[in-house]
């Protein structure tokens, strides 16, 4: 059990360092096991430094930086132990356009093993979807699936559908 945990930790560590650099276009990040404690009990610390900046606590990072760090960690775990599917509910809400693009580009490396279901209001993210579903309420309070194609997707039209009832 100890070997298995150490092996997983080392593999996620390697992936996290790599994916963090991809998320931020540089910088460094790593996972640190608590010292002096049995590996089966030790806590895991995250150390992350965006490019060009000094090392500071995670709490001082911005909303967008924290989200990108979390995405890098999540995908690092996925790389070590692929999961057949992954559901992301508006993770792109705090991101600027550049980071949204970096995030969606990163997903490309995972599409072989993993299906992604992504809920979003962001047009750049929608553009990356292979299939797009709309969920609206033509009858107030009752959800309904509607067909949506990216070219024709007009949030106002869908919202008008929903609020008109």
């Amino acid at each position: 059990c100890r070997e298995l945990f150490q092996e997983t930790f080392d593999s996620v560590q390697l992936n996290f360092k790599d994916l963090f650099r991809k998320c931020f276009g540089g910088g460094r990040a790593e996972l640190v096991l608590e010292e002096g404690v049995d590996i089966l009990e030790a806590g895991i610390d995250i150390v992350a430094r965006p490019p060009g900046k000094k090392l500071r606590t995670l709490a001082l990072m911005s909303g967008g930086e924290k989200t990108m760090t979390t995405i890098a960690l999540l995908l690092a775990i996925f790389k070590s132990k692929p999961s057949p599917f992954c559901i992301l509910d508006e993770v792109d809400a705090p991101l600027d356009d550049t980071n949204v693009r970096r995030f969606t580009v990163l997903l490309d490396d995972f599409l072989e093993n993993t299906q992604f279901i992504i809920i979003t209001h962001n047009k750049v993210t929608m553009g990356q979807a292979d299939t797009l579903y709309g969920i609206t309420m033509e009858e107030r309070g009752v959800s309904k699936r509607v067909a949506v194609s990216l070219e024709s997707y007009d949030p106002d039209e869908m919202e008008a559908l929903a609020t008109s009832t």
Binding site: L4, F5, E7, T8, F9, V12, E34, E41, A42, G43, I44, D45, L58, K66, T67, T70, L73, L74, I77, F78, S80, K81, S83, P84, F85, C86, D89, E90, V91, P94, L107, L111, Q115, F116, I117, I118, I119, H121, T125, M126, A129, D130, T131, L132, Y133, G134, I135, T136, M137, E139, R140, G141, V142, S143, K144, R145, M158, E159, A162, T163
Partner: protein, 165 residues
């Protein structure tokens, strides 16, 4: 193994039978605020065995049953089915398609089915054991909770690594 379909009826705001087909790659879900997108995420958590009403944003499990609108009566039960392609026998069961169904009646009675055969919740949990996804797993990032992995204490974070090991 891949995810083929999710079907909801009477689950939260999905009063009418609604199904979403999934293909490999990225599936985007879009739509106005309050129309039921995150309820789809809750449906996944529920069908994967979640027993926590709070984790489904409710106070008791009954809150997942369609509670009616100003124009519709409440329904008597909630039902969700998820269908996986199992040709590669990823799940330790001798079917090329695995359909898992969960029902909850207003009476409080629950039903679980695998390929239309009644089973226990335990059987469903056993099916998912070792796959990396289950109700509490790291493969679902809920709305507004993206930073949970960063804010978790070091020992809570370990749990995610243990799941991946």
């Amino acid at each position: 193994m891949h995810l083929k379909k999710l079907e909801l009826v009477g689950f939260k705001s999905f009063a009418d039978r609604t199904s979403l087909d999934f293909k490999p790659g990225i599936t985007g879900i879009v739509g106005p605020n309050g129309c039921g997108k995150s309820n789809v995420v809750d449906a996944f958590k529920w069908i994967l065995g979640s027993q926590s009403a709070k984790g489904l944003r409710g106070t008791e499990m009954m809150d997942v049953i369609f509670g009616g609108t100003q124009n519709r009566k409440p329904l008597g039960y909630a039902e969700v089915t998820v269908v996986f392609d199992n040709t590669d026998r990823y799940f330790d069961i001798d079917f090329s398609e695995v359909a898992i169904t969960r029902r909850l009646f207003r009476s409080g009675e629950s039903e679980y089915l695998i390929n239309k055969n009644r089973c226990r919740l335990k059987d469903i949990k056993n099916l998912f054991l070792d796959t990396g996804f289950g109700a509490t797993s790291y493969s679902i990032l809920e709305q507004g909770k993206i930073d949970v992995l960063l804010q978790a204490t070091n020992s809570d974070r370990r749990v995610v690594f243990e799941e991946a090991a």
